[in-house]
């Protein structure tokens, strides 16, 4: 622009050479970048292989939650209505996802690995009420699956992660 320094034109080179590089944008809805295995996304509740729920309704997750977004109401298992492996089970298990900060304290707190944070991040809804996840929603397989990067390489091999998520 100014007659003096040719250095001023160096910037033009920087911008021009980018034209021949591949854009770094990822075409999101079509291409989903694999998340790393530790990524904390949508919650999951887990069941044992025999179909019993792992959650025993101890409310540790609710106690650990900094955002107070978990509500657990426990009830005793009865012989004809056996839901969980422990004495009690969670009759109501709700997470208000619009409040959740995805810190993962709930999965740290859970002594039975009943709740983990999965990999799904597409959890937007049109209404706040739809973001209150009930136990059924948390137990179900998520509809949208997100690919996960190399688990051996990017995760610490502790049994907790190998079994689930």
């Amino acid at each position: 622009m100014s007659p003096q320094p040719f250095d001023s034109f160096k910037g033009f080179g920087v911008t021009f050479k980018q034209i021949f590089k591949k854009p770094i944008t990822q075409q999101y809805p079509e291409y989903k970048r694999p998340v790393y295995p530790r990524f904390r996304g949508r919650h999951r509740l887990h069941v044992h292989e025999n179909g019993l729920e792992k959650c025993v309704g101890c409310s540790l997750c609710a106690a650990a939650c900094p955002a107070d977004c978990i509500r657990v109401v426990a009830e005793e298992n009865t012989p004809d209505n056996r839901v969980s492996a422990g004495e009690r089970y969670a009759r109501i298990y709700e997470i208000n996802m619009s409040r959740c900060i995805f810190c993962g304290y709930c999965e740290l707190a859970c002594p039975f690995d009943a709740i983990t944070l999965g990999n799904e991040y597409e959890i937007s809804e049109y209404s706040r009420d739809d973001l209150i996840y009930t136990k059924d929603m948390l137990l179900a397989e998520p509809i949208k699956q997100v690919p996960v990067a190399d688990r051996d390489l990017y995760d610490t091999p502790i049994p907790f992660y190998e079994d689930h998520s």
Partner: protein, 134 residues
């Protein structure tokens, strides 16, 4: 007792800055762990001034003890940086500074009532929404 006079720094012109001017509510039994403060705690608030002399890296903490509505002299004339810190302490803790040129609320609205960081100010907030199922 302004912290500056106490140290005699103001008159000697030593450059320093206030890291922190934080009020503290002492309604409850006080603290005396790692760094002892006078015992017994006579008053409700403790004003802490964290001073740092940049050449020499010396840090000093000065505490002034205040009752409710007891003013403390402003240190703005000595350390201009105290301006907003003192306004914040006034806004959130309700500690009055005498001689501050512009002691008004800084973080809360101008017409806010109460001083939110005091322990007798309820934390409030709206209840977390759940499905309401019993």
């Amino acid at each position: 007792m302004a912290a500056a006079d106490y140290l005699g720094w103001g008159s000697r012109g030593v450059a320093g800055y206030i890291g922190n001017a934080a009020g503290r509510d002492l309604n409850r039994p006080g603290s005396q762990g790692l760094e002892r403060t006078p015992e017994p705690k006579p008053k409700r608030f403790a004003m802490s001034y964290h001073l740092l002399a940049i050449p020499g890296a010396r840090r000093v903490r000065v505490q002034a003890w205040l009752d409710e509505d007891e003013p403390v002299p402003s240190v703005v004339p000595v350390w201009p940086t105290a301006d907003w810190h003192e306004r914040e302490a006034w806004d959130l803790m309700g500690i009055r500074f005498e001689g501050h040129p512009n002691l008004s609320r800084i973080l809360m609205d101008d017409d806010w009532e109460g001083h939110p960081l005091r322990k007798d100010y309820p934390i409030g907030g709206e209840p977390v929404r759940f499905s309401g199922e019993e």
